[in-house]
């Protein structure tokens, strides 16, 4: 088979629509007679509801309905547990999931209390102001560390404490090896990850058509099929009566796979109650409170090494902020726990965490999904060890990498997909050497840095490694059909949020069927087109859906060959698929177009022979037994102005290995975007809470997203270690850019400010925070 498209930087099929403003986003759906919704939300982090008075709101002109928890009757149910805890011996998990509307207690700012349905959004927002919620404020649990103390108020009244989960995973025997170590380094490390802040806020439009007994929903979700099935169950409808469309989505990054958001449960129900289309579009302020966050962990970590820098083991005990409820189970802290091990050979590992309920917005995965936290801990420990042992930072990583002969490598703990944490493949050292070479690591340290220092400038360099578990199961599927026009239709269940699925999936199909990419029409995220699958998350689109599409394309190709062989009276082995037709090798006049074959295979008269199916269509699935591990190295040179503590990124290098690459242009775009989000996380973005659980910077004026002047030019290169776990040999790439950037910032800034003898053990940083750290360090030195 010729691979004319796989691996090529093909321009995207979806772009013309997006560029002309013709692509459908949820807020573009406008239906006759449509009603609009605004929510009354909690102003308090923790409070008892004494009464809710909606009478004035109900009387306002233009208001059609107002609902509180009371009005929902039996429909009021806590949401489902999206991800149950993995099978880890001895774990504690206290299940608490969000409710559609708060009933007695308010557990975080922004929790919905009442819904206003009105003729316009403007009127609905006016009426939301009319609602009087009388509350008794309670002390808020805003601090992660004190949340488990005996004095802390308990958020969920039926629990003894704010413990959400307690998990221990162990390999080898850390306590034993600790006694034999030459070097022990122990630190307290803080990592805070912010919000996804997709440019498109969430939104949902529901249209219950009573005559057709059909509910159509447009939802900014990364998981339309589970939404369809879940809503059907909640609303007492057949799954085939519910159609969920995730059209073009303006960025996902994780929070849009959270389900079921209260709004997702309520808007379809309201449409059925009122028998009219209903729309709710989140505004940016709501997005800060009502869309899930990621946030912080506090790690007490220790690394044990030999004198020559070989890691003997790591012990890590951490607290994880779950927020007010934990519908996404343990995915984020388990990712932190597992990804800490990185590309390294760590024979002994003790990892224990407590996930803690706080009076803050729910925490679910956001691009990286806890991996940042783990990678930061391990990379910082290695940097500290390198410094203490006088070993070069590149060398200490080189000494501890798993080597190619150690794969598949079993880490002997359980990953977020419930499978053992086994790396399928990897080859880490070439990426390290390549990144070090590209950025000129040793030359910088030998020449550039001292020269700059002599000139009074503070330049620093960093280099860090990471792995990313990607492409986890359970499965995805696809149906591919050749139309009578000769065009090819591909339907798959996962939604798309900018990853270029319309193109990369088309490339896979085009190669199999001998058509051009622009003749392959991909449909994603419409449950009427395809209703099996889970969603777009965990860097799994290309791996899981990509391989399902590959399998379905192989199936269609077989049917094409069978029909063509009969029609052209030639052996299948002599047929070639090219240019939208099947040709007989060496007999150019003998050919049939795919469109003609599609017609022949679907006759109006005559017979479809036994053993044959009508049409050139095939459906297939792909379910990997476990995830595939991508990896990479980031390196960066910064200059720090020690007066203002501004950090300028001089160079940024990424060498990445995600196995076989379908479309390098799209892949690089994913890396650029991931790095930009990593830079935001490291130096710009921070959710600032006060002790009452109030978020103080809930606007894009105050929560700083990096702009074009903050993100540098990113130089990229690739290593290809194909995954043995799937036929295409691909690994996921969606999150890799974002994962190690915090660790890189800490190392490079520390290096730039080596005169100040800083230890940076926290993210996010900022000029203010660096200034504080330098002055704290100076004060400590003076005291001693």
């Amino acid at each position: 088979m010729a691979t004319r498209y796989f691996g090529k930087p093909i321009k995207r099929n979806e772009d013309p629509r997006l560029l002309k403003g013709q692509a459908l986003f949820v807020d573009d759906v406008n239906l006759p007679d449509m009603l609009h919704v605004a929510f009354v939300r909690s102003d308090y982090a923790h409070a008892k509801i004494k009464s809710i008075d909606v009478s004035a709101a109900r009387e306002r002109e233009g208001v059609v309905a107002v609902y509180t928890a009371e009005d929902l009757g039996d429909y009021w149910q806590p949401g489902p547990l999206l991800v149950p805890p993995p099978p880890i011996a001895g774990l504690t998990f206290n299940q608490k999931t969000q409710v559609p509307l708060a009933k007695d207690r308010l557990k975080h700012v922004g929790e919905p209390i009442a819904v206003i349905v009105a003729a316009s959004r403007y009127i609905a927002e006016d009426a939301a102001e009319d609602v009087i919620v009388d509350v008794e404020p309670l002390e808020a649990v805003a601090d992660l560390e004190s949340a488990l103390s005996d004095e802390a108020p308990v958020i969920h009244e039926d629990l003894d404490s704010n413990l959400s989960a307690h998990v221990v995973q162990e390999k080898g025997n850390y306590a034993k090896i600790r006694a034999q170590a030459d070097v022990l380094i122990k630190r307290r490390i803080f990592y805070d990850h912010g919000i996804a802040a997709a440019m498109e806020n969430r939104g949902i439009v529901a249209h219950w058509n009573a005559k057709e007994q059909h509910l159509k929903i447009w939802d900014t979700t990364q998981a339309p099929i589970p939404i369809q099935n879940g809503l059907a169950a909640m609303l007492g409808l057949s799954e085939s009566q519910v159609q969920v469309v995730a059209p073009f989505i303006g960025g996902g990054f994780g929070p849009k796979i959270m389900m079921f958001y209260p709004e997702e449960v309520l808007i379809p129900w309201i449409s059925m109650q009122l028998q009219r289309p209903v729309k709710w579009i989140e505004d940016r302020r709501e997005n800060f409170f009502a869309t899930t966050h990621e946030r912080s962990q506090i790690h007490d970590s220790e690394i044990a090494l030999t004198r020559d820098g070989k890691v003997l083991g790591v012990q890590d005990v951490f607290l994880h902020d779950a927020g007010a409820y934990a519908p996404y189970g343990l995915t984020v802290p388990i990712n932190s726990q597992c990804t800490l091990l990185g590309p390294y050979d760590v024979p002994n590992y003790y990892s224990e965490f407590k996930a803690v309920f706080t009076n803050k917005t729910i925490v679910t995965p956001y691009r990286g999904a806890g991996r940042q936290h783990g990678v930061f801990v391990m990379e910082r420990l290695l940097d500290l060890a390198a410094k203490q042992l006088g070993i070069d930072r590149v060398e200490i990583r080189r000494r501890n990498y798993l080597t190619p002969d150690q794969f598949p490598h079993d880490h002997e703990i359980v990953y977020q997909d419930f499978a053992p944490l086994v790396y399928d493949s990897g080859n880490y050292q070439p990426a390290l050497e390549r990144a070090a070479e590209m950025i000129g690591f040793h030359d910088f340290i030998k020449n550039d840095q001292p020269a700059a220092r002599t000139a009074g400038r503070h330049l620093g360099i960093g280099i860090v490694s990471y792995v990313e578990g990607t492409g986890i199961g359970p499965y995805e599927g696809a149906r591919i059909k050749v139309d009578a026009s000769g065009k090819v239709n591909v339907a798959t269940g996962i939604g798309t949020q900018g990853q270029g699925h319309f193109t990369s999936f088309a490339q896979i199909v085009a190669d199999q069927l001998g058509v051009t990419v622009d003749n392959v029409r991909v449909v994603t995220g419409d449950t009427c087109e395809f209703h099996w699958g889970t969603g777009t998350f965990a860097s799994r689109g290309a791996v899981v859906a990509g391989n399902a599409i590959h399998a379905a394309a192989v199936g269609v190709r077989k049917k094409i060959l069978k029909h063509a062989s009969e029609h052209l009276e030639a052996a299948e082995a002599d047929l070639v698929l090219d240019n939208g037709a099947v040709h007989v090798k060496g007999v150019p006049q003998k050919s049939v177009s795919l469109g003609e074959l599609a017609r022949i295979s679907n006759p109006l008269r005559g017979a479809v022979k036994p053993g044959m199916e009508p049409g050139l269509e095939s459906t297939d699935y792909f379910g990997p037994e476990r995830g595939t591990t991508a990896s990479g190295v980031h390196a960066m040179i910064v200059e720090v102005d020690p007066d203002a503590m501004m950090v300028e990124i001089k160079r940024f290098v990424v060498v990445h290995d995600c196995g076989k690459v379908i479309n390098p242009m799209i892949l690089e775009g994913q890396i650029h975007g991931g790095v930009a989000q990593g830079i935001g996380n490291s130096f710009y973005e921070e959710l600032v809470y006060d002790e009452g659980g109030q978020l103080l910077n809930a606007s894009l004026m105050d929560y700083l997203l990096p702009t074009a002047t903050d993100v540098p030019h990113i130089e990229t290169d690739h290593i290809e270690t194909p995954s043995p776990l799937n036929p295409l040999g691909v690994k996921g790439a969606g999150e890799a850019g974002a994962i190690p950037v915090g660790a890189l910032f800490a190392q490079a800034i520390e290096d730039a400010l080596s005169d100040y003898d800083l230890e940076i053990l926290e993210i996010p940083l900022s000029p203010n925070r660096l200034f504080e750290l330098v002055h704290m360090q100076a004060a400590t030195k003076q005291e001693s």
Binding site: K11, D27, G251, M665, S699, T709
Partner: protein, 162 residues
């Protein structure tokens, strides 16, 4: 409050007349009253730039203007960029060529912000391009390929003998 004011505005060369409440944002007017949904709304407080349109040739944030303020004015939105036969505007084509968009939600705002900039600064440096882009937020691309698209377009038009 519910007083409606008749306004008349030229958008993408076409005259529109409609009634609008004085408080109706221009962005909502374009999107929901006129069905011009190519203009996107990302923050409604003037930071993200997704809603940028041209008002008499100048880039403005349609979420920070009332529809009534556009009465009698001349607007250009993203829908007015491509040629009548559907061919992409050179700036749109450069965005596609350079992979300067991923989810595409912020893209209309970037295109509209760039149009007057490219006219004013046909020989812009990368630093100037980045400064010009810094009023628009993109969460997908890291801006690199947007910068690339602008540079490509400028190089093309500067080397164009016409």
């Amino acid at each position: 409050m519910n007083t409606q004011i008749e306004i008349s505005v030229k958008i993408n060369g076409k005259q529109y007349s409609a009634a609008a409440e004085p408080r109706l944002l221009l962005s909502d007017f374009l999107r929901h009253e006129l069905g011009l949904t190519g203009t996107h709304v990302g923050c409604e407080h003037g930071v993200c730039g997704a809603c940028t349109v041209l008002l008499n040739g100048e880039a403005v944030r349609s979420c920070l203007m009332f529809a009534v303020q556009a009465d009698g004015q001349d607007l250009l939105t993203v829908e007015g960029l491509a040629a009548a036969n559907g061919d992409l505007h050179p700036l749109q084509a450069a965005f596609r060529e350079a992979h300067a968009l991923q989810c595409g939600f912020c893209t209309p705002g970037f295109l509209m912000s760039l149009l007057p900039f490219l006219q004013d600064k046909p020989d812009a440096s990368e630093e100037e391009i980045r400064a010009a882009l810094s009023g628009n937020l993109c969460r997908c691309t890291g801006y690199q390929n947007i910068v690339k698209a602008v540079k490509m377009l400028l190089e093309e038009s500067n080397s164009d003998p016409a």
